[in-house]
Amino acid sequence: MSSSVISVISRFLEEYNSSTSTKLKVVDAYLLYILLTGALQFLYCLLVGTFPFNSFLSGFISCVGSFILAVCLRIQINPQNKAEFLSTSPERAFADFLFAHTVLHLVAINFVG
């Protein structure tokens, strides 16, 4: 059983490495970073309790928001999805990404206290 899981995973990783462009891998690395940061924050909260709750929420929501925005960026700049995003160029996607992040950070900093 475990061997099949390992083989599935290794096959997946192979496919990933070969078929994904570098640009997308860069974004994926960024996604992983955000994920880890959020997970570690959550772990800390579980360990020591929710005081101060607003700070935890601010940091965690910032991670979640960043993750979602990066996923959106990845979808929009993936050339395989070009058919669905005819009016949105990658530059436009990046600009949207930056603007949304500005708003997200503004809110998060306001809330972190």
């Binding site: 570098t22 860069v26 960024y30 360990l47 020591v48 530059e91 600009a95 503004l106 972190v112």
Partner: protein, 616 residues
């Protein structure tokens, strides 16, 4: 039938004296001389040194001023044998002042001066001038002066229209709570109106259109103030008092009891002051008790009984009717003059008496009635010789009667208390003694039942009887006897502190909000490092992937974009540490728009490059 209003505010003798004293102050100028001299004459008093006053007036009169002539003429008129002579020119200037072009005040002063100096005046001209001025100066003070002026004119003149102004002015009075009636212009205006209205009404012999209740409300307003701010205010009050005590139509009556309205065997006379508003007794009046009924039993004691006048005070010997003690409602009527107003008065009279305690019997009764009761009689104000001992098997009992000392009628006063006082511990317990149907008072102390009130502390208690009532002249506090009480289950007797409510209470320590428990610093620091570590991982991954900035074009928009973006991130940090939302938004707007423009340019350039690259 609704209750007629009676004055609730009026001048008493000391107030009249005070008014006189205010008006007797030494003169400072002609105007104050006028107020003092004429004001005192209204009170029926002449000024202290009339010769002095007369020379003062003559020295200070300025013949060119209508106002000065007015003060001088009126004041000299009030002093006997003081005459002022005026030249023909002065007389002509006074006549000239009577015209439609002068103010009502000037016309009033000129006419009064001419009248007081005994000079002739043309009444009809005055009337037409006044009518013209009233329509132009439609205020309370002006119309009052017009009324006052009209009262100095010939009776043949047509004063009808001016007379109607009284009713119009009366309609402008403000009714305050049904008690006061006054102009919003104040006390002085109201008082001057009253004296002017009655002056004119007397002059034309027509009753002023004021209802009785309105007259009393005016009395309340004018005489509610017992010390006066200015000489003119005192003068106006004196004028109004003189007008109300001596005019042809209305004479308000003030009825008040001399001291408290209480009679008893030692003071059997009910004495009343029946006066006019200037506190002068109405010696010619008949004062009658229409009815006197007991408040408690509603029985009528007196009917149509007259008071007798002695030394300015009306008296009635109420005790001669042998009333029982308590309160009585008197309905008093003052007759003898058709002008009297508020001459039916309701009065509450108290009849007090002395109480005597009869048949005070103390006994100790055994609960199971096996041993006969031993009754001891104690006479007031002696104390029972032997102490009474009662333990848990016995009851202590007390019976007595309270009677009126003079008539022997049984009484039930409001307060009949039995107080037991432990001399050693200072503890006291109070009980109420209740009368039975035959008005015999009984008090029983069941030692076992009442032990909680006594905290089960045995010992000698002094027994007091307390009797009191509003209608008793001799409240009683009588140490009847000593009682030794024995309680079962006695604890060690502790001195009971009398409950002192006024010692400082235990201090309340304020509990400040405890700060939340924080995790140990080591743990926090560890996790700070941990949370920052994925960034390192990211850099490593990017390096491995071969992400680079080799394609970085140093165009100005590109540089500006990156600088602006870095500035925005820096602003976020500064926002966290120093700024508030408004300041941040302000800076963000500036930096953001710059970054946006630069970024737009840069991305457009990139797009063009990409497009040209892909479509080569």
């Amino acid at each position: 039938m609704s209750q007629a209003l009676t004055p609730s505010h009026y001048l008493v003798a000391s107030d009249v004296d005070r008014l006189q004293a205010v008006l007797s102050q030494p003169f400072t100028d002609l105007k104050s001389a006028y107020f003092s001299v004429v004001g005192l004459s209204k009170l029926g008093v002449s000024v202290a040194d009339s010769n002095d006053a007369c020379s003062f007036i003559k020295a200070n009169v300025d013949s060119s001023s209508i106002e000065a002539l007015f003060y001088a003429a009126e004041a000299s008129q009030a002093i006997s044998s003081c005459e002022i002579h005026v030249s023909n020119e002065t007389r002509d200037s006074l006549h000239a002042a009577v015209s439609e072009d002068s103010t009502v005040s000037q016309i009033h002063q000129a006419v009064s001066a001419l009248s007081s100096l005994g000079l002739p005046l043309a009444s009809q001209e005055v009337v037409s001038a006044l009518k013209a001025r009233i329509s132009k100066e439609d205020n309370v003070v002006a119309i009052t002066l017009a009324l006052q002026t009209a009262s100095r004119l010939s009776q043949q003149a047509e004063l009808g229209e001016i007379l109607e102004e009284i009713e119009d002015l009366a309609a402008r009075l403000d009714d305050l709570g049904g008690v006061y009636l006054q102009f919003e212009e104040g006390l002085e205006a109201t008082a001057l109106f009253v004296s002017a209205a009655y002056a004119l009404s007397d002059h034309v012999d027509m009753e002023p259109p004021l209802k009785e209740d309105q007259v009393i409300q005016l009395v309340n307003s004018i005489f509610s103030k017992k010390s006066w701010d200015s000489l003119s205010e005192a003068f106006s009050v004196a004028s109004a008092a003189a007008a109300l005590s001596n005019n042809r139509f209305h004479k308000p009556v003030v009825v008040s009891a001399v001291g408290p309205a209480t009679v008893s065997h030692s003071h059997p006379l009910l004495q009343l002051h029946v006066t006019d508003v200037l506190c002068q007794p109405l010696s010619s009046a008949n004062v009658l008790v229409e009815s006197a009924t007991s408040v408690a039993s509603k029985a009528a004691i007196l009917s149509q009984t007259p008071f007798t006048l002695r030394d300015g005070i009306f008296e009635l010997n109420f005790m001669a009717s042998k009333p029982a003690s308590g309160y009585y409602q008197f309905s008093v009527a003052v007759t003898g003059d058709s002008r009297l107003v508020a001459n039916h008065v309701e009065l509450k009279v108290k009849v007090s008496t002395k109480v005597a305690i009869n048949n005070m019997d103390l006994s100790v009764v055994d609960k199971d009635q096996s041993i006969g009761t031993k009754t001891t009689r104690v006479e007031y104000p002696n104390k029972g010789k032997a102490s009474f001992i009662a333990d848990s098997h016995q009851n202590f009992a007390m019976t007595f009667q309270l009677v009126d000392e003079t008539t022997g009628v049984e009484l039930t006063p409001h307060q009949t208390f039995v107080r037991l006082h432990n001399q050693k511990t200072g503890q006291e317990v109070v009980f109420v003694a209740e009368p039975d149907s035959k008005n015999l008072y009984k008090f029983e102390l069941d030692t076992a039942e009442r032990k909680t009130e006594f905290d089960s502390i045995s010992g000698t208690y002094a027994l007091y009887l307390m009797v009191g009532d509003a209608t008793l002249e001799n409240p009683v506090l009588w140490n009847v006897a000593d009682v030794v009480l024995k309680f079962p289950d006695e604890e060690a007797p502790s001195t009971v502190q009398s409950k002192n409510l006024y010692v400082p209470k235990p201090e309340i320590q304020h509990l400040f909000r405890e700060p939340e428990k924080r995790p140990p610093t080591v743990l926090s620091n560890t996790f700070t490092a941990l949370v920052l570590s994925p960034f390192l991982l990211l850099l490593i991954l990017w390096f491995k992937l071969g992400a680079n900035i080799s394609n970085f074009s140093f165009s100005p928009s590109s540089v500006l974009f990156h600088v602006g973006h870095a500035a925005m991130l820096g602003l976020m940090y500064v926002y966290w540490t120093h700024l508030n939302m408004f300041q941040t938004l302000k800076y963000l707007a500036i930096i953001g728009s710059l970054t946006f423009l630069a970024g737009n340019r840069m991305l457009a350039q990139k797009a063009v490059k990409r497009y040209s690259l892909h479509h080569l």
